[in-house]
Protein backbone atom coordinates (compact mmCIF):
# COMPACT_ATOMS: atom_id res chain seq x y z
CA UNK A 1 0.00 0.00 0.00
CA UNK A 2 1.33 3.50 -0.76
CA UNK A 3 2.18 5.76 2.16
CA UNK A 4 0.23 8.75 3.39
CA UNK A 5 2.51 11.08 1.40
CA UNK A 6 1.45 9.36 -1.84
CA UNK A 7 -2.20 9.74 -0.91
CA UNK A 8 -1.62 13.41 -0.03
CA UNK A 9 0.00 14.05 -3.44
CA UNK A 10 -2.84 12.19 -5.17
CA UNK A 11 -5.41 14.27 -3.30
CA UNK A 12 -3.54 17.50 -4.07
CA UNK A 13 -3.27 16.60 -7.76
CA UNK A 14 -6.97 15.74 -7.98
CA UNK A 15 -7.94 19.02 -6.32
CA UNK A 16 -5.71 20.99 -8.68
CA UNK A 17 -7.20 19.19 -11.70
CA UNK A 18 -10.69 20.08 -10.53
CA UNK A 19 -9.52 23.65 -9.85
CA UNK A 20 -8.45 24.05 -13.49
CA UNK A 21 -11.99 23.33 -14.67
CA UNK A 22 -13.49 25.58 -12.00
CA UNK A 23 -11.16 28.45 -12.96
CA UNK A 24 -11.94 27.96 -16.67
CA UNK A 25 -15.68 28.10 -15.96
CA UNK A 26 -15.23 31.17 -13.78
CA UNK A 27 -13.16 32.95 -16.46
CA UNK A 28 -15.61 31.83 -19.16
CA UNK A 29 -12.92 30.17 -21.29
CA UNK A 30 -14.32 26.66 -20.96
CA UNK A 31 -15.53 26.54 -24.56
CA UNK A 32 -12.39 28.07 -26.00
CA UNK A 33 -10.13 25.54 -24.26
CA UNK A 34 -12.70 22.77 -24.18
CA UNK A 35 -10.37 19.82 -24.91
CA UNK A 36 -7.85 20.93 -22.28
CA UNK A 37 -10.63 21.14 -19.71
CA UNK A 38 -12.03 17.79 -20.85
CA UNK A 39 -8.58 16.34 -20.23
CA UNK A 40 -8.50 17.79 -16.72
CA UNK A 41 -12.01 16.55 -15.99
CA UNK A 42 -11.05 13.06 -17.16
CA UNK A 43 -7.94 13.30 -14.96
CA UNK A 44 -10.20 13.93 -11.96
CA UNK A 45 -12.32 10.85 -12.69
CA UNK A 46 -9.27 8.70 -13.38
CA UNK A 47 -7.62 9.87 -10.15
CA UNK A 48 -10.77 8.97 -8.22
CA UNK A 49 -10.82 5.56 -9.89
CA UNK A 50 -7.17 4.98 -9.10
CA UNK A 51 -7.76 6.00 -5.49
CA UNK A 52 -10.67 3.58 -5.23
CA UNK A 53 -8.58 0.70 -6.58
CA UNK A 54 -5.62 1.63 -4.37
CA UNK A 55 -7.71 1.55 -1.23
CA UNK A 56 -9.98 -1.39 -2.08
CA UNK A 57 -7.95 -3.64 -4.33
CA UNK A 58 -4.49 -4.23 -2.93
CA UNK A 59 -2.46 -1.09 -3.64
CA UNK A 60 0.20 -0.36 -6.25
CA UNK A 61 1.19 -4.02 -6.63
CA UNK A 62 -2.28 -5.23 -7.54
CA UNK A 63 -2.91 -6.36 -11.11
CA UNK A 64 -6.17 -4.39 -11.27
CA UNK A 65 -4.31 -1.18 -10.44
CA UNK A 66 -1.67 -1.89 -13.06
CA UNK A 67 -4.20 -2.48 -15.80
CA UNK A 68 -6.35 0.48 -14.79
CA UNK A 69 -3.32 2.76 -14.52
CA UNK A 70 -1.93 1.97 -17.96
CA UNK A 71 -5.22 1.79 -19.84
CA UNK A 72 -6.45 5.05 -18.29
CA UNK A 73 -3.08 6.58 -19.02
CA UNK A 74 -3.38 5.68 -22.70
CA UNK A 75 -6.81 7.30 -22.81
CA UNK A 76 -5.58 10.46 -21.06
CA UNK A 77 -2.56 10.74 -23.35
CA UNK A 78 -4.81 10.58 -26.41
CA UNK A 79 -7.05 13.33 -24.99
CA UNK A 80 -3.97 15.42 -24.10
CA UNK A 81 -2.76 14.95 -27.68
CA UNK A 82 -6.03 16.39 -28.99
CA UNK A 83 -5.74 19.17 -26.40
CA UNK A 84 -2.36 20.05 -27.86
CA UNK A 85 -3.86 20.03 -31.36
CA UNK A 86 -6.56 22.44 -30.13
CA UNK A 87 -3.75 24.81 -29.05
CA UNK A 88 -2.31 24.53 -32.58
CA UNK A 89 -5.71 25.46 -33.98
CA UNK A 90 -5.81 28.53 -31.68
CA UNK A 91 -2.31 29.64 -32.70
CA UNK A 92 -2.95 29.18 -36.44
CA UNK A 93 -6.51 30.54 -36.26
CA UNK A 94 -5.80 33.54 -38.49
CA UNK A 95 -4.24 31.45 -41.25
CA UNK A 96 -7.48 29.48 -41.77
CA UNK A 97 -5.70 26.12 -41.87
CA UNK A 98 -7.89 24.36 -39.32
CA UNK A 99 -8.94 21.64 -41.78
CA UNK A 100 -5.33 20.82 -42.63
CA UNK A 101 -4.34 20.79 -38.97
CA UNK A 102 -7.10 18.30 -38.19
CA UNK A 103 -6.05 16.11 -41.11
CA UNK A 104 -2.41 16.30 -40.04
CA UNK A 105 -3.36 15.38 -36.47
CA UNK A 106 -5.28 12.31 -37.65
CA UNK A 107 -2.40 11.28 -39.94
CA UNK A 108 0.08 11.67 -37.08
CA UNK A 109 -2.11 9.71 -34.65
CA UNK A 110 -2.63 6.96 -37.21
CA UNK A 111 1.10 6.88 -37.92
CA UNK A 112 1.89 6.62 -34.22
CA UNK A 113 -0.69 3.85 -33.85
CA UNK A 114 0.76 1.96 -36.79
CA UNK A 115 4.30 2.35 -35.44
CA UNK A 116 3.18 1.13 -31.99
CA UNK A 117 1.45 -1.85 -33.58
CA UNK A 118 4.56 -2.87 -35.49
CA UNK A 119 6.56 -2.72 -32.24
CA UNK A 120 4.14 -4.91 -30.26
CA UNK A 121 3.05 -7.23 -33.08
CA UNK A 122 5.80 -9.67 -32.07
CA UNK A 123 4.15 -10.41 -28.73
CA UNK A 124 1.40 -12.95 -29.29
CA UNK A 125 -0.29 -12.69 -25.90
CA UNK A 126 -1.95 -9.66 -24.32
CA UNK A 127 -1.23 -7.61 -27.43
CA UNK A 128 -3.91 -5.05 -26.60
CA UNK A 129 -2.29 -4.24 -23.26
CA UNK A 130 1.14 -3.86 -24.83
CA UNK A 131 -0.34 -1.79 -27.63
CA UNK A 132 -2.03 0.61 -25.19
CA UNK A 133 1.22 0.94 -23.24
CA UNK A 134 3.36 1.46 -26.34
CA UNK A 135 0.91 3.90 -27.90
CA UNK A 136 0.80 6.08 -24.79
CA UNK A 137 4.61 6.08 -24.59
CA UNK A 138 4.98 7.03 -28.24
CA UNK A 139 2.24 9.66 -28.08
CA UNK A 140 4.01 11.16 -25.10
CA UNK A 141 7.15 11.75 -27.17
CA UNK A 142 5.11 12.97 -30.13
CA UNK A 143 3.48 15.46 -27.74
CA UNK A 144 6.89 16.56 -26.51
CA UNK A 145 8.09 17.31 -30.05
CA UNK A 146 4.77 18.93 -31.00
CA UNK A 147 4.96 21.26 -27.99
CA UNK A 148 8.41 22.51 -28.98
CA UNK A 149 7.29 22.96 -32.59
CA UNK A 150 4.28 24.93 -31.32
CA UNK A 151 6.51 27.12 -29.17
CA UNK A 152 8.71 27.81 -32.20
CA UNK A 153 5.56 28.72 -34.16
CA UNK A 154 4.42 31.07 -31.36
CA UNK A 155 7.81 32.84 -31.46
CA UNK A 156 7.90 32.97 -35.26
CA UNK A 157 4.34 34.25 -35.62
CA UNK A 158 4.80 36.75 -32.77
CA UNK A 159 1.70 35.48 -30.99
CA UNK A 160 1.06 37.77 -28.05
CA UNK A 161 -1.87 36.20 -26.19
CA UNK A 162 -0.49 35.72 -22.66
CA UNK A 163 -2.88 32.94 -21.65
CA UNK A 164 -2.05 30.83 -24.70
CA UNK A 165 1.68 31.39 -24.22
CA UNK A 166 1.41 30.33 -20.57
CA UNK A 167 -0.53 27.17 -21.47
CA UNK A 168 2.01 26.18 -24.12
CA UNK A 169 5.02 26.87 -21.89
CA UNK A 170 3.46 24.88 -19.01
CA UNK A 171 2.98 21.94 -21.33
CA UNK A 172 6.58 22.22 -22.54
CA UNK A 173 7.93 22.23 -18.98
CA UNK A 174 5.66 19.32 -18.04
CA UNK A 175 6.82 17.14 -20.93
CA UNK A 176 10.46 18.14 -20.47
CA UNK A 177 10.38 17.35 -16.75
CA UNK A 178 9.31 13.77 -17.47
CA UNK A 179 11.93 13.31 -20.17
CA UNK A 180 14.60 14.69 -17.81
CA UNK A 181 13.48 12.52 -14.88
CA UNK A 182 13.50 9.42 -17.04
CA UNK A 183 16.95 10.21 -18.40
CA UNK A 184 18.10 10.67 -14.81
CA UNK A 185 16.70 7.30 -13.79
CA UNK A 186 18.64 5.71 -16.65
CA UNK A 187 21.93 7.08 -15.36
CA UNK A 188 21.94 4.75 -12.36
CA UNK A 189 19.44 2.13 -11.14
CA UNK A 190 19.32 3.71 -7.66
CA UNK A 191 17.86 6.91 -9.12
CA UNK A 192 14.79 4.98 -10.28
CA UNK A 193 13.22 4.84 -6.81
CA UNK A 194 13.61 8.62 -6.41
CA UNK A 195 12.17 9.25 -9.85
CA UNK A 196 9.17 7.02 -9.03
CA UNK A 197 8.43 9.46 -6.19
CA UNK A 198 9.04 12.46 -8.43
CA UNK A 199 6.57 11.35 -11.11
CA UNK A 200 3.36 12.07 -9.11
CA UNK A 201 4.79 15.42 -7.97
CA UNK A 202 5.50 16.42 -11.57
CA UNK A 203 1.95 15.29 -12.33
CA UNK A 204 0.72 18.10 -10.06
CA UNK A 205 2.70 20.79 -11.91
CA UNK A 206 0.59 20.90 -15.06
CA UNK A 207 -2.79 21.41 -13.30
CA UNK A 208 -1.12 23.90 -10.94
CA UNK A 209 0.24 26.04 -13.77
CA UNK A 210 -2.96 25.79 -15.83
CA UNK A 211 -5.10 26.67 -12.83
CA UNK A 212 -2.85 29.69 -12.20
CA UNK A 213 -3.07 30.68 -15.87
CA UNK A 214 -6.88 30.47 -15.98
CA UNK A 215 -7.21 32.20 -12.61
CA UNK A 216 -4.70 35.04 -12.90
CA UNK A 217 -4.07 35.72 -16.61
CA UNK A 218 -6.92 37.59 -18.31
CA UNK A 219 -7.80 36.42 -21.80
CA UNK A 220 -7.16 39.84 -23.31
CA UNK A 221 -3.70 40.15 -21.69
CA UNK A 222 -0.83 40.44 -24.16
CA UNK A 223 2.90 39.88 -23.87
CA UNK A 224 5.79 39.50 -26.23
CA UNK A 225 7.16 35.94 -26.34
CA UNK A 226 10.33 37.34 -27.98
CA UNK A 227 11.10 39.12 -24.71
CA UNK A 228 10.74 35.82 -22.83
CA UNK A 229 13.02 34.07 -25.29
CA UNK A 230 15.61 36.87 -25.04
CA UNK A 231 15.47 36.80 -21.24
CA UNK A 232 15.95 33.04 -21.28
CA UNK A 233 18.94 33.26 -23.64
CA UNK A 234 20.76 35.83 -21.48
Amino acid sequence: MPGSASYAILLLGTLLEALVVVCAVRRKVLRKYFVLNLYMLLCVFVSLGRYHILTHDGGVKSITYRYFYFYSDALLTIVLYFGLISLYISVFEEMKVERYLRMGAIVLLAGTGWFSYTVVSQSSHRMLTYFAFELSQNLYFVGLVLTYVLWAAVLKMRHTQALLVQLVLSLGIYFSAYAASYSLSNLHPTFYSYVAYMVPIIGCLLPLSWAYAFWRVPEEARLSPQRLAMAASR
Binding site: S47, R66, S72, L76, R126, F133
Partner: protein, 80 residues
Protein backbone atom coordinates in the same frame (compact mmCIF):
# COMPACT_ATOMS: atom_id res chain seq x y z
CA UNK B 1 4.62 22.02 -52.52
CA UNK B 2 0.89 21.57 -52.08
CA UNK B 3 -0.73 21.83 -48.68
CA UNK B 4 -1.95 18.24 -48.85
CA UNK B 5 1.59 17.01 -49.36
CA UNK B 6 2.71 19.06 -46.36
CA UNK B 7 -0.12 17.52 -44.29
CA UNK B 8 1.29 14.08 -45.09
CA UNK B 9 5.00 14.86 -44.84
CA UNK B 10 5.08 17.02 -41.72
CA UNK B 11 3.39 14.46 -39.39
CA UNK B 12 5.78 11.78 -40.64
CA UNK B 13 8.72 14.08 -39.95
CA UNK B 14 7.42 14.76 -36.44
CA UNK B 15 6.88 11.03 -35.86
CA UNK B 16 10.44 10.23 -36.94
CA UNK B 17 11.79 12.99 -34.68
CA UNK B 18 9.72 11.81 -31.70
CA UNK B 19 10.74 8.19 -32.09
CA UNK B 20 14.35 9.25 -32.49
CA UNK B 21 14.09 11.23 -29.26
CA UNK B 22 12.48 8.25 -27.53
CA UNK B 23 15.30 6.00 -28.68
CA UNK B 24 17.86 8.48 -27.41
CA UNK B 25 16.19 8.84 -24.01
CA UNK B 26 15.48 5.14 -23.47
CA UNK B 27 18.70 3.83 -25.02
CA UNK B 28 20.25 2.82 -21.71
CA UNK B 29 17.04 1.82 -19.95
CA UNK B 30 14.83 -1.26 -20.06
CA UNK B 31 12.61 0.36 -22.69
CA UNK B 32 9.66 1.11 -20.43
CA UNK B 33 8.85 4.74 -19.84
CA UNK B 34 6.90 5.89 -16.81
CA UNK B 35 3.81 7.64 -18.03
CA UNK B 36 2.21 9.96 -15.58
CA UNK B 37 -1.06 11.62 -16.37
CA UNK B 38 -2.26 12.62 -12.96
CA UNK B 39 -0.67 12.42 -9.54
CA UNK B 40 -1.38 8.78 -8.68
CA UNK B 41 1.52 6.62 -7.50
CA UNK B 42 3.27 4.63 -10.20
CA UNK B 43 2.38 0.91 -10.11
CA UNK B 44 5.09 -1.63 -9.54
CA UNK B 45 5.76 -3.11 -12.98
CA UNK B 46 7.88 -5.90 -14.34
CA UNK B 47 10.91 -4.88 -16.40
CA UNK B 48 9.39 -5.79 -19.75
CA UNK B 49 6.26 -3.76 -20.12
CA UNK B 50 3.12 -3.29 -18.09
CA UNK B 51 1.91 -6.86 -17.95
CA UNK B 52 2.23 -8.94 -14.81
CA UNK B 53 4.42 -12.00 -15.23
CA UNK B 54 2.46 -15.26 -15.38
CA UNK B 55 2.73 -17.66 -12.47
CA UNK B 56 5.43 -20.22 -13.34
CA UNK B 57 4.64 -23.92 -13.78
CA UNK B 58 6.50 -26.32 -11.58
CA UNK B 59 7.71 -28.66 -14.31
CA UNK B 60 8.11 -26.80 -17.56
CA UNK B 61 5.65 -24.49 -19.24
CA UNK B 62 2.89 -27.00 -20.07
CA UNK B 63 -0.05 -27.57 -17.78
CA UNK B 64 0.04 -30.82 -15.84
CA UNK B 65 -2.67 -33.37 -16.79
CA UNK B 66 -5.44 -34.13 -14.35
CA UNK B 67 -4.39 -37.18 -12.30
CA UNK B 68 -6.17 -40.54 -12.69
CA UNK B 69 -7.75 -42.01 -9.63
CA UNK B 70 -6.21 -45.50 -9.90
CA UNK B 71 -2.99 -45.32 -11.78
CA UNK B 72 -2.34 -43.74 -15.15
CA UNK B 73 -4.66 -45.96 -17.25
CA UNK B 74 -8.32 -45.19 -17.76
CA UNK B 75 -10.62 -47.25 -15.58
CA UNK B 76 -12.54 -49.99 -17.52
CA UNK B 77 -16.28 -49.84 -17.85
CA UNK B 78 -17.90 -51.96 -15.10
CA UNK B 79 -19.49 -55.38 -15.96
CA UNK B 80 -23.20 -55.54 -15.83
Amino acid sequence: MSRRLVVLLLPMLILVGAMGLKTAVTAHGDGSFMMANGAAPVPVVSKNGPDPAPAPWRNGPDPAPAPWKNGPDPAPAPWK
